[in-house]
């Protein structure tokens, strides 16, 4: 008999049961994909580094005339437990050509190395370890080939020194050490035979050969002190700092994690509401069952059996849908990382089982009301006359509102629980989009310049070739600036050119040696930059440190540091602290009055150009386009373009924001459609009554849509209020880990964040609710006679 009752119930209350089934499917899908993604993201970097065979410390060095000072130091080191070395050849975008034009656009130094000598695991785009590269073929790191639309099989030439070799693009590779957007040093993998041909060239030996060291150590600080005096080092970096360089990916991962948690919360809240709501509507059946003598537990088990059937089917469907959905969510993170098996079947199944159990728990708790219902409920249509809670808050006679508007507002305030849930869901969706939009705007805004420790200029020119020449000693850095300046003057764009130079120097603080990067620019003043504490360095023996570096060295303003510059120890007083996300927050700034030998330069961001005639933004944009042609280089930007190119994540965040907006819209449509369906089903008698007393379909549809409109407007107000606190709660900590210790100044675009997106969400809600409300047309005035 139970089976017959359940089957009949499933068939008879088709709409509500389908709504419930859909919510179960959503819950199972969101939970399985969400939990999978949380686990993948949580262990993401550790897993990637483990698979890649990362060490504790890394050095990228340049061989001066074939002499390797680093290896000499490491060989005799007490703190380097073991080390491995990959020989590399330094290249720039200028070395790779296709049909006489640049093959790829990138601004940092790149490295070519042989697969056979590699002591490190590189992965192809399917996350398989690359262990062999055919002669004449080349794998290239991550995003660079994609940006340049390089397809597998494309042919190009590598011209370096006297070497001019033809290669075929074999595919993209994932490089844990240099592959993050912040590190951004492309590595090219070629065969041993090809590598030998290039490495044997005299010019390459002289200027372009170097090594990457992977060092194992138990005492990192001692090792750092020990090798602080090594020469010709481009980069020294520990494992934690490499992890930090993935912070842009971690921003995306964190967003996905928060999104997953949000989706899980949304689905369970809605599910709990729907179950409670459907059971509350079944007072008549419950009353009748009690009247014919069924016991509470029997009735309860009947409902539990029904919900088990629905939840089981929903969980199975949800499980299969979670696989593509989860992959879609994690796609943006997994592009340049090797993540653990991205969708574990076991976790998926466990989550779906958990969803079924949670539903049964919800059903159990909701069916507790069965005890309270009596046979009289069946007779009195649920009105026992024993409930005396006040429902109506507003009074029609005391307002000037039209009937439809009044009914909408009154309904929202008379049923605060259900409309609070709906409002909360809309708030979550809106605030997600707002936070992401502000984050994306900030990461691509001028406000990030402060964080990068760079002054504002008209144009930023990321010329890796000239920088490489300056670093390797082929040219003097001033000579490269003059070259650019001359070309600009020749093209009627006279301008002042300057560059922030980086120097990797040995520093002693509190008797501990460190190797760290210092920025120096002779053409700007230290007072041009922002400091969080202290006064800008004024004299040549003064220095400013990033807060993270000061903390690492256990020093503060007024303390003295000893810098080894070209073999000579010099003392500097710390006068100021600042925040920076450059060099993962570990950086110092020297006073412009200090004269540092240019041959010690180890890096630079790019050349900065200020036109003499102080042009407006429009002219600057036009000139940037001209300069791209003149220099045959696309890495020429205005301020926002530069910030975007350096952080490399603004566009990713924007696509994640669009993706979240799409997900939010889907969730909102589902919630609005399903909720409105349940409202129509629940309020069938009221709709029929309204029609009987002369309300038209349009008026009832407007009333129903109006309730959602009120909810969504309230949600927008709450979301706008929560935006800043949530930015501080979720996004600030990510920036803090990267050096923005004093917090970040967010860039708001009021039109976008507080007008356009809220309008999109409001329109989605209103359209979905209105289209669903059209179902009221199916209810006839005469249904007043047929309503149970």
């Amino acid at each position: 008999m139970y089976r017959r009752i359940i089957l009949r119930d499933l068939k008879r209350k088709k709409t509500m049961n389908i709504i419930l089934l859909l919510f179960v499917v959503l819950s199972a899908m969101f939970t399985a994909s969400g939990v999978n993604n949380i686990m993948v993201v949580e262990r993401g970097l550790d897993h990637y580094f483990e698979e890649a065979g990362m060490a504790d410390y890394y050095i990228l060095s340049h061989k001066s005339n074939g002499r390797d000072t680093v290896e000499e130091l490491l060989r005799n080191s007490e703190n380097a437990k073991a080390y491995q070395k990959d020989d590399v050849i330094f290249t720039s975008e200028e070395n790779f050509k296709r049909s006489g034009k640049k093959l790829m656009e990138y601004s940092n130094i790149s490295m070519v190395q042989s697969i056979s000598d590699s002591n490190f695991n590189f992965f192809d785009e399917n996350d398989n370890v690359i262990d062999h590269v055919e002669q004449g073929k080349m794998y290239i790191t991550g995003a660079v080939p994609k940006r340049s639309d390089l397809q597998i099989g494309d042919k190009f030439t590598l011209k370096i020194g006297e070497i001019n070799m033809k290669f075929e693009f074999a595919g993209t590779l994932k490089d844990a050490l240099f592959g993050s957007e912040m590190m951004g040093n492309p590595r090219m993998l070629i065969s041993e035979e090809d590598y030998k041909k290039i490495a044997n060239d005299d010019q390459v030996k002289q200027y372009a050969s170097g090594s990457v060291y992977y060092i194992e150590t138990d005492n990192l600080s001692a090792l750092q002190s020990e090798i602080a005096d090594a020469e010709d080092i481009y980069l020294m970096i520990d494992n934690d700092t490499v992890k930090l360089s993935y912070f842009m990916n971690m921003i995306v991962a964190t967003i996905i994690l928060i999104l997953s948690i949000g989706l899980i919360i949304v689905s369970f809240v809605v599910l709990r509401f729907t179950i409670g709501f459907t059971i509350a509507e079944e007072f008549r059946e419950i009353g009748v069952m009690k009247a014919i003598g069924l016991k509470n537990n029997s009735i309860r088990s009947l409902y539990l059996a029904k919900y088990f059937c629905i939840s089981f089917v929903g969980a199975v469907v949800g499980y299969f849908l979670n696989i593509p959905f989860g992959k879609m969510l994690i796609k943006s993170v997994s592009e340049n990382m090797v993540l653990e098996s991205q969708n574990s079947a076991v976790i998926g199944v466990l989550c779906c089982v958990a969803v079924v159990l949670v539903i049964l728990f919800f059903s159990w708790s909701c069916t507790g009301k069965i005890k309270k219902l009596s046979p009289i409920d069946a007779v009195r249509s649920g009105q026992t006359g024993e409930r005396f809670h006040k429902k109506s808050i507003l009074h029609l006679g005391k307002t000037r509102l039209k009937s439809t508007a009044f009914l909408s507002i009154n309904d929202v305030f008379s049923q605060p629980k259900q409309f609070t849930i709906i409002t909360a869901i809309f708030t979550i969706c809106t605030v997600f989009v707002m936070v992401l939009s502000v984050t994306a705007n900030t990461l691509g805004s001028q406000k990030m310049l402060k964080m990068l420790g760079i002054t504002k200029s008209d144009v930023y020119f990321l010329d890796s070739k000239r920088i490489t020449d300056a670093i390797s000693g082929v040219k003097d850095v001033d000579e490269t600036k003059q070259e650019i300046s001359d070309i600009l003057a020749e093209n009627n764009m006279p301008a002042f050119v300057y560059i922030e130079e980086w120097y990797n120097l040995s520093v002693t603080a509190n008797d501990v040696k460190y190797k760290t990067n210092f920025v120096w620019c002779k053409d700007t003043k230290t007072t041009d930059y922002t400091y969080t504490k202290g006064v800008a360095p004024k004299y040549e023996n003064e220095v400013a440190l990033s807060e993270m570096l000061a903390e690492k060295m256990h020093v503060d303003i007024g303390d003295v540091l000893t810098l080894n510059i070209d073999g000579e120890d010099k003392e500097f007083i710390i006068t100021a602290l600042f925040q920076s996300v450059m060099q993962t927050g570990n950086v110092g700034r020297l006073c412009e009055k200090f004269e540092i030998p240019g041959n010690l330069m180890t890096g630079a961001v790019g050349y900065q150009i200020n036109f003499d005639d102080d042009p407006d933004e429009k002219i600057i944009s036009e000139r940037i386009e001209k300069l791209k042609d003149i220099f045959d280089n696309k890495n020429i930007y205005d301020t926002c373009g530069f910030v975007n190119a350096i952080t490399g994540v603004s566009d990713t965040i924007k696509s994640v924001r669009d993706f979240v907006l799409a997900i939010s819209i889907i969730v909102i449509i589902l919630i609005a459609v399903l909720m409105e369906h349940s409202f129509i089903s629940k309020e069938k008698s009221e709709i029929a009554l309204m029609k009987a007393i002369g309300f038209r379909n349009g008026a009832i549809m407007t009333q129903h849509t109006g309730r959602f409109l009120i909810s969504v407007i309230l949600a927008q107000i709450v979301a706008a209020g929560l935006c800043v606190p949530l930015l501080m709660l979720c996004i600030d900590p990510i920036f803090m880990t990267m050096g923005a210790t004093a917090g970040i100044e967010y860039q708001f675009n009021v039109l976008e964040q507080f007008v356009i997106y809220p309008l999109i969400i409001t329109a989605t809600v209103v359209i979905s609710a209105f289209l669903t409300a059209m179902h009221v047309g199916k209810i006839k005035a005469s249904d007043t006679a047929n309503i149970e």
């Binding site: 006040k390 109506s392 008379s414 309300f695």
Partner: protein
Amino acid sequence: MNTVLEARDLCKTYIVNKRQNNVLRNVSFSVNEGEMIGIMGPSGSGKSTLLYTVSGMDKMTAGEVFFCGKNLSAMREKELAAARLEDMGFIFQQMYMMKNLSVLDNIILPAVRAAKHHESNKKIAQRGRELMKRLGIAEIAGNDINEVSGGQLQRACICRSMINHPKIIFADEPTGSLNRTSSEEVMEELAKLNADGTTMMIVTHDVKVASRCGKVLFIVDGNIKGEYVIDSGANLRDRERSLNHWLMEMGW
């Protein structure tokens, strides 16, 4: 005397499980202004269907219904809704009301919706209170609908049906959910309204209720089997007795 409602060869057919069910078969009758007409018949005879069809709440399959000279079957849904709102009043067996509104707000809702002569909500509420006072339920104006008795609620439904000064009130078993005392009170009020000139059409099983009408139609299997005009001069007991007698003759 003006004819408020006239049905000509009214047919209503439902298709249930591919089987045709002729609920009303060529029903013709008319209701004059100020009349109170009762519809009686066994369960399933088509009484409620007749009421819902002639009031424009349900569509007729064939025939014509004229309401104040206008053909209901030719009216669009919008016009029918306007007619129900402004010219008709309804009382149902179940005291259907909007759950989220107070009793007074339920009563005045159709008037606010109609907003005739740009009457303010405040004035409408005042009219609603007066109606409630007239029907003896003034004290429950601010109450929620689940705070009042069935009799009070049904009287509130009568107030709602009256609020727009309708040309006719349709009542479907108005005392069906009430106890005897409440039932008598409600019918007393309906009789008073009729005496004041309100036209009424009442579907009922109850001979006591029907005996208050001036004319009773007896329906069996969708056909009007007979029509009985009650002597308006007789007292209530005699009216009830004569109606009972007639109904027995009709096979009640």
